[in-house]
Symmetry: C2
Subunit: 497 residues, 2 copies
């Protein structure tokens, strides 16, 4: 039996020998006999927190069973939840509070046994649906593909077990057309195979706008949502469920006419964001060339309401959504709707953003020269400030490039202790990263803690001669302070004198 590491603690774990968890599930359900059962499929960054929200509704909390796979990537989450430790680190204090509530109420259980689906009144689908990217050496996107295999299997497992009148709410970001072309046919097939009537099942789609960080819980509970169903009964059932989950007094719940429409809304939202970022990526290069300060320019333009969401330049885009959703859309357009053209702007945005760490590295070398044999400290490995999430973080590419140049690298992040993708430890003590003194400090994630004066003073106090701000974190005053001892360069700004 192999032991694996829980990435959030020093505990090791081994996989269960049997996939039978029936007795524990039955016990849990009988202890919650007055409650409706919600099964959340997938305990990732959305599903885990969605489970907490479902187990903490204002009236008549649901009994929530989180289901994930008994794999080395996921089993520790199941174990962790049942042992009283939530499998996510985040700034939001509500996460801890909500999880504590569920322990007190005993209404949250996690399992790997698909028997859970047979008891569900509502199944919320929060599994991943990935895109396979094929990129050039400099990260330009050359081709991509969408493999629905895992997603189809997850839906089939529901169909193999569920009640005939269950409500299946897909929250996964899917290629537009998936509920109609994939989810509905699979569920109907499975029900028929089990000789069950197929006209009572309810299938709908709605997407969260979850934002890991200080408002993690409220980004699910208190954020406007759209929803839809494959038919009116489905849309009604989804509406009834979401009304118990979402704080409809503070945010709107909007029904769209078709699951194609809500599915499209989600990927359009993210493609729009990715496009806005890619737009600025190119201009940040231009600003460096023209020796001007793009932050100053953007601040001046943002006073226009129509331009208020113009993004600031950055090291690139990370996370699970913006790096792939535009591609899902373009793929769907061709696969489900027979289009003969791509969403070119959207695809281009992904490719441009993917290349940003390469640009950032080129600029770094242009300004500071070769890094061979030097010590480089990275402040931040998360893809976004104030979260511990390294999925597709652009820092990964930059770290690899700096390493390949022959530099020794130290990593700091207050929210990440183990970097799964690079299989390495990350320091949480800044002193350990700054001793022995690095010759280059790269600010690579805009964590709030890095913005504090005491922190800047600490960087200023080391004798490093170079600071590269790859996320536009430093204020002009902070730059001046650092410049007394350091050569400072900021991504998207001409040479600072």
């Amino acid at each position: 039996m192999t032991d694996y590491n829980n990435p959030l603690s020093s505990k090791s774990f081994s996989l269960p020998e049997s996939l039978d968890d029936k007795n524990q599930i039955d016990d849990f359900v009988s202890r919650n006999s007055s409650r409706k059962i919600v099964v959340v499929q997938g305990l990732g960054f959305v599903g885990a927190v969605m489970s907490l929200v479902c187990a903490n509704t204002r009236n008549g909390d649901y009994a929530v069973i989180g289901v994930d796979l008994a794999t080395k990537e996921s089993f520790w989450k199941i174990k962790s939840i049942n042992e009283g430790s939530f499998p996510l680190v985040a700034e939001d204090p509500k996460i801890e509070q909500f999880f504590k509530n569920t322990i007190e109420k005993g209404n949250f259980y996690a399992t790997y046994d698909s028997y859970a689906y047979s008891l569900a009144d509502v199944v919320v689908v929060d599994v991943n649906l990935d895109v396979q990217k094929f990129s050039s050496e400099n990260n330009a996107l050359e081709d991509f593909d969408v493999d629905l295999g895992g997603f189809k299997k997850a839906i089939a497992v529901i169909g193999e077990n569920c009640k005939k009148d269950v409500t299946v709410l897909v929250e996964t970001t899917v290629p537009p057309g998936t509920c109609i072309n994939v989810v509905q046919p699979i569920l109907i097939d499975e029900l028929r195979r089990r000789n069950l009537s197929d006209d009572m099942i309810k299938i709908g789609h709605s997407y969260e706008r979850v934002m890991p960080g200080p408002d993690y819980i409220d980004s699910i509970r208190c954020y406007p949502r759209v929803y839809s169903g494959v038919n009116t009964a489905s849309a009604d059932a989804v509406e009834e469920f979401l009304k118990t989950i979402i704080d409809t007094s503070s945010c709107e719940l909007t029904r769209l006419e078709h699951t194609n429409a809500t599915e499209m809304a989600k990927v359009l939202e993210n493609a729009y964001r990715a496009t806005n970022i890619a737009f600025v990526v190119e201009w940040s290069r231009f600003a460096e060339e023209a020796e001007v300060d793009l932050y100053e320019i953007i601040n001046a333009i943002r006073v226009r309401k129509t331009h208020s969401n113009l993004m600031f330049p950055n090291i690139g885009v990370g996370g699970y959504c913006l790096t792939k959703d535009p591609l899902l859309a373009s793929w769907a357009r061709k696969t489900f709707f027979g289009a003969d053209s791509d969403l070119e702007m959207s695809i281009k945005s992904v490719s441009t953003n993917d290349q940003m760490p390469v640009y950032a590295y080129e600029r770094l070398k242009e300004v500071f020269g070769s890094l061979h044999g030097t010590h480089v400290a990275f402040l931040g490995v998360s893809y976004r400030g104030d979260v511990g999430d390294t999925r597709f973080t652009p820092v990964e590419s930059l770290v690899n490039l700096v390493k390949s140049d022959g530099a020794k690298v130290k990593l700091h992040d207050p929210y990440v202790s183990y970097w799964q993708e690079l299989s390495c430890e990350v320091e949480s003590d800044i002193n350990k990263v700054l001793v022995p003194e690095p010759s280059l400090v790269i600010i690579s994630t805009a964590h709030s803690v890095y913005k504090k004066e005491a922190f800047i003073d600490k960087i200023a106090s080391v004798s490093a001669s170079k600071v590269y701000d790859a996320v536009g974190l430093l204020t002009n005053e902070q730059i001046q302070k650092l410049q007394s001892k350091h050569r400072v360069s900021v991504l998207g700004r001409g040479d600072i004198s």
Copy 2:
């Protein structure tokens, strides 16, 4: 002597035989001896209105001389101003009022004689700077070039005549780097050629955000501005002047560090807008394919602050700025700053937008079939609602395509009586366009008057069987009303049932 037509009236005009207007200019200046002289170079959509604003400041109005060329395209504007008729039709009642004020005060004169520059305290440069586009048959952008010849000539004329301590404020949208690389060297050269000292001239850049339409005047006066100078004295002089022009109590005036920065801000603003539009262009095709209503989706997404400026789909982009400014930027990046790559997202946006009328036409044929031998009525030829401006209007392409399909075309626009680019009359009486009844009505510009119920009733009353809304003007109620007799299709919406 050839006679030309004034496009705003039935009057014809001939060009002046001599370019000497010295006596009239001297008379005008002596009548305004207590006033400072502002010369506005270029009497187009910006310069004409900027002249009015300069002649109507709160304290100590300037004496304003508008200068343009004695050509068939421009001379009628000069003549028109001096004969008491403003050479622009716009919704904004302030235009008429401001022009009337200048007649009463006698502080606005127009001329073609560059002698005017010799008297100027301030010269405001509002001449055009065009991009030459080379496009494929379906309007995709294949190549482009920027010819600075005309612009350089305009700057040289100032330098050949101006006082050595004049303030030259460039408002023209220029490739970033132009003030430093083009304007300053030319002016210094010309001053030296005249044996004048070259260290007292002030050269700055600031751009208007003029928006033809109901707030034309206030879009210059009451809109935040950035400005810059080639040195501190220049920036100070520009600031002093703009403070008398802009209503600084209602909007901010921000100094940027470098003329490169303000020049970049302008084209970045417009490239951003063009990119946002191009983004939605592609999704409007997708929405049509997936049979969903993109307007419904966008409305749902716009509740997010970060997405509140998501654009609605449209027939395409027109006007003088968004169709070329992204290209100016990319050109400058290579020409002035030696970059070896393009602003690809920005260039792509122009190409995508340019193709939109072709898409709209393809959709039209897909839904309604061939137009051969039919009568088609276009409602609106302007590129934008509530203005009379046909420069680069996307309606032009659509009209040409519909004509090439063998349809007879009638055009309506309340703000355009003569379509210069197509050399044809445009009806302002809707009845003349709807009799004899067209078999297809295309709503091609979102003029407010078209949204009124009485207008919709008028369209509903003709027996035409088809209505194509290419600008998303119709409300759901109006669509229902029209559907009682017509087949209705809306750009960016699946089939409407």
